[in-house]
Amino acid sequence: MFEISTDNGKKIGTDGSRTIVLDPEGRMFKRKAFKWNAQEETNVEWLVASLDGVNVFVQDDKIVVTKENLKP
C-alpha cells in the first residue's frame, strides 16, 4: 500500500520500503485495479510518478520508466 504526501512542495510516494520523490510540477498517483475472473479477484496497486511526459511505474520489485500510459 503506497502513501502519497508532500514535503516542501515535492511529492513523496512510499510503501515503507521504497520511496519516490517527485518535483512539485510532476503528478503522483496510485493506479489501482480489480481483475475479475471466475476463479479469483486480484487487487493491483501501482505507484505512478509523471513528469514532462515521462512516467515511472512502481509495482512490487519492478520499476518501469516509459512515455507509455501503462494499465494493470
Partner: protein, 163 residues
C-alpha cells in the same frame, strides 16, 4: 488512508446493491444477484438467448482520499467464452430496472474494450464516498452455435487512478 472501493451489482426497481468486488456476477435469465443455477442461460434451437442486464456501479464505500479519476473497465481483448457466447457492455447515466435484453443494439462486445481502448466509466475527479461514474450495463448472449457446459473463465479489469 485510501478509498475502499467496491463494484456493486444493482437489481430490482429499488436498485438493491450487492457488493461483487470479490464475488461472481452470474449472467442468467432473471434479475437478481444470486450466484446459483436457477434461471440459466440456454442454447436456443435457433437464434440467440439474451441474458437479463447486469447493472454494475463503481462505489467508494468508505475511506479517505484526495481524488479518484479515470475509472475504466476493459478485458484482455480475447473472447475465451467459446463459440456462440459473447459478453457485451455499455455505459448508462441513469438507472433503470434490469430487463431481459432483446438485442445487442447500443452495446459493444466487452472484448473490444482493452487497456489501450477501455470503456470509460467516469473521468472524475471524484472526491467523496458513494456511487461514482456511469453505470456499466452488461449482457451475455448465447447463440444456437454454442456448446453446452461450463465456459472458460474470462478476466474483466476495473481500473482507476487515486491520490
Amino acid at each position: 488512508m485510501a478509498a475502499s472501493v467496491q463494484i456493486r451489482e444493482k437489481n430490482g426497481a429499488g436498485e438493491t446493491a450487492t457488493d461483487k468486488t470479490s464475488g461472481t456476477v452470474r449472467f442468467k435469465n432473471a434479475d437478481n444477484a444470486t450466484v446459483d443455477t436457477s434461471n440459466p442461460m440456454v442454447i436456443p434451437v435457433s437464434g440467440t438467448d439474451y441474458s437479463f442486464e447486469k447493472w454494475l456501479r463503481f462505489n467508494v464505500a468508505s475511506g479517505t482520499y484526495t481524488e479518484i479519476t479515470n475509472i475504466e473497465m476493459y478485458s484482455d481483448g480475447g473472447n475465451g467464452l467459446g463459440t456462440g457466447v459473447v459478453a457485451y457492455a455499455k455505459t448508462v447515466a441513469a438507472y433503470a430496472t434490469p430487463a431481459e435484453a432483446t438485442s445487442t443494439t447500443g452495446y459493444t462486445s466487452a472484448f473490444s474494450y482493452t487497456s489501450g481502448s477501455p470503456l470509460v466509466v467516469g473521468a472524475g475527479p471524484y472526491t467523496s464516498t458513494g456511487d461514482k461514474g456511469n453505470y456499466v450495463v452488461m449482457i451475455l448472449t448465447v447463440a444456437d452455435t454454442a456448446t453446452a457446459g461450463v465456459t472458460s473463465s474470462e478476466t474483466i479489469t476495473w481500473a482507476w487512478d487515486e491520490i
